[in-house]
């Protein structure tokens, strides 16, 4: 393992026309996977770990992951949110074995080492021995043996953490565009509606691509296109932060013209005027935002998607599980002041998203059909050129620019070369 991103010996910007080429081995080779854990998830990035609303009270905790490393998010007595590695400082056992709960402190079951909610070691059984025998050495310093404490940053009630002491502050890492759009959705207190968990048999970066891809959304997802929830003909934008790490896609439903769209999509499978719902109540929502935006997919590097699709609001956390699978954790929320009708709308529209979502179920399959097709491939690359093949903002939705931005960021942190 080297200290810097490896040079790209088969450059991903090779000839054969304008466009970005990504070697498929980045999705299958364990070497990249190990390097990502080091350079991204334990490196120069902030990872999403929780909504503040998931740990509202002192003593609340949630266990989750940054990359593949187990972490605990806690709310201490003073109200501060802490993130610590979920691994006892003694002999490495998981300290927290539940998904969530409330405790006055964290205690490892193996030898009952106890930590406060910030991760400081506060108790070691038999530390001074029994009857003058055994015990820890005289120079044992409790302060040196806490849980590993991570840097924590919070924007709009979204909790991020980083292993890095040198990474730029969270607000700078996100950039003003991302902060603005987090705060747009998180503009008032939220209420968590539940979690849905999905296991996708594909590399996590295929999902990073998928959520930066306005090109596929009306071509894979019939519900989007046929019911006009999203079409590439709509007014919308595909924007990035200045570092091109993150991607904001948004669109405005009803900004399009059905007759012209029919021509644009021709006989596309996903533009089906014959497809009707018996119960249209599924799509009856309310306009919630004055800006008229009805769909936001905010993909925050490396592991978060914050979304608004109609009246569904959710964060999706990406948890890699080896190089060939990831878990996607959807946490749905509404606002604390939602009236009964709004609660009913959100409950019903949840049918659109999540692992059984009439729209989003299809992204799991899209990831897997790529993973299944690139097994063992060492040389071949993808070809990403829609919209010009560069990491550039677009004031339209016929682009893959944000995918290129993701790969530019990846190249800086991880690189495309191999050490072998």
């Amino acid at each position: 393992m080297t200290d810097t991103a490896l040079p790209d010996e088969n450059t991903s910007r090779t000839a054969n026309g304008t466009g970005r080429r990504i070697p498929y081995r980045v999705f299958t080779d364990p070497e990249y996977h190990a390097r990502e854990q080091e350079k991204i998830f334990q490196g120069e990035a902030w990872s999403f770990v929780a909504l503040e609303a998931e740990v509202p009270e002192a003593g609340d905790f949630k266990s989750t992951f940054i990359g593949e490393t187990p972490v605990i998010v806690t709310r201490a007595a003073d109200g501060a949110v802490h993130v610590v590695v979920n691994r006892c400082a003694h002999r490495g056992a998981l300290v927290c074995r539940e998904l969530r709960g409330n405790r006055p402190n964290l205690e490892c079951v193996y030898h009952q080492w106890a930590y406060d909610l910030a991760g400081n070691l506060i108790g070691v059984p038999f530390r001074r021995g029994l009857k003058g025998q055994g015990g820890m050495p005289g120079d044992f310093d409790m302060k040196q043996h806490g849980l590993k404490q991570l840097r924590v940053g919070i924007v709009g009630g979204l909790v991020f953490a980083s292993f890095s002491q040198s990474v730029v502050p969270l607000n700078d890492f996100l950039g003003p565009l991302v902060v603005e759009h987090i705060e747009r959705i998180m503009h008032k207190p939220i209420k968590v509606l539940g979690d849905q968990r999905q296991y996708v048999h594909g590399n996590w970066k295929l999902y990073a691509e998928n959520t930066r891809d306005p090109y596929h959304a009306s071509l894979l997802h019939l519900f989007h296109n046929t019911f006009g929830l999203y079409r590439s003909t709509q007014t919308g934008k595909a924007l990035m932060d200045s570092e091109k790490r993150h991607s904001l896609l948004y669109s405005i439903a009803a900004s399009n013209d059905d007759a012209a769209d029919k021509q644009a999509y021709g006989d596309s499978r996903t533009f089906d005027t014959e497809f009707k719902l018996q119960d249209m109540s599924l799509l009856k929502g309310r306009q919630e935002f004055d800006d008229g935006i009805t769909l936001v997919i905010l993909a925050v590097f490396p592991n978060l998607v914050l979304q608004q699709i109609q009246n569904t609001l959710a964060v999706r956390q990406i948890v890699p599980k080896g190089q060939e699978a990831f878990e996607l954790v959807w946490t749905h929320f509404g606002y604390a002041d939602d009236d009964a009708e709004m609660q009913a709308i959100r409950r019903k529209q949840t049918n659109l998203i999540g692992p059984a979502g009439l729209i989003s179920m299809e992204d799991g399959e899209a990831v897997e059909i790529v993973q299944n097709a690139i097994v063992g491939e060492q040389q071949a690359t993808s070809f990403i050129a829609m919209g010009g093949g560069r990491a550039e903002d677009a004031d339209h939705l016929v682009t893959e620019g944000a995918i290129v931005g993701f790969w530019d960021s990846y190249e800086k942190l991880v690189g495309f070369g191999t050490a072998r």
Partner: protein, 162 residues
């Protein structure tokens, strides 16, 4: 009403048979007939145990009319993209929880095995059905069916009813 004063045994027979038919229609891919096992203003919910036990709304599937059940099936046939697969339901005995008039409340454990085109069969989803069954008509119908699943990681996606 199916029976004037059905015995507990007869009720159990009727509700077990309804669940068996429910599973059969799904497993045999006779999905167009599946909504007919529900009353028109039914509620059908597939929800994780994690959310159900916290009294949280977020369900994988939530339909509050038979029309929505039909829409799920039409979507599966015409709209949705998913890996080719088949289900096999294994049902435990249906236990009568209570009866009030012509409404029976029952509970049934289930496991759904999934077989994909590569031939591998996996345990896709296991949990329990909490049902309210309307016995006032010519045949028993689900007024409400909640599938509370333990399998907290949904493998790839869920398109078929549980």
């Amino acid at each position: 009403m199916l029976l004037d004063t059905p015995s507990r045994y007869e009720l159990q027979q009727l509700t077990s048979e309804l669940n068996a038919l429910y599973a059969e229609l799904i497993d045999d891919d006779r999905l167009e007939e599946w909504p007919e096992l529900f009353v028109s203003d039914c509620v059908y919910t597939v929800i994780s145990r994690e959310n159900f036990e916290r009294n949280m709304d977020s369900a994988a599937i939530y339909c509050d009319s038979r029309g929505m059940l039909v829409d799920r099936i039409v979507s599966l046939r015409k709209a949705n993209i998913f890996p080719v697969h088949a289900y096999r339901h294994i049902l435990g005995p249906t236990r009568m929880v209570s009866t009030t008039g012509a409404l029976a409340k029952t509970q049934t454990n289930y496991a759904v095995l999934m077989t994909r085109t590569d031939g591998h069969t996996t345990i896709y989803n296991s949990g329990k059905y909490i049902d309210e069954i309307d016995l006032s008509g010519e045949r028993p119908l689900f007024r409400s069916k909640i599938a509370v699943f333990d399998t907290n990681l949904i493998d790839t996606m869920m398109v078929r009813p549980i």
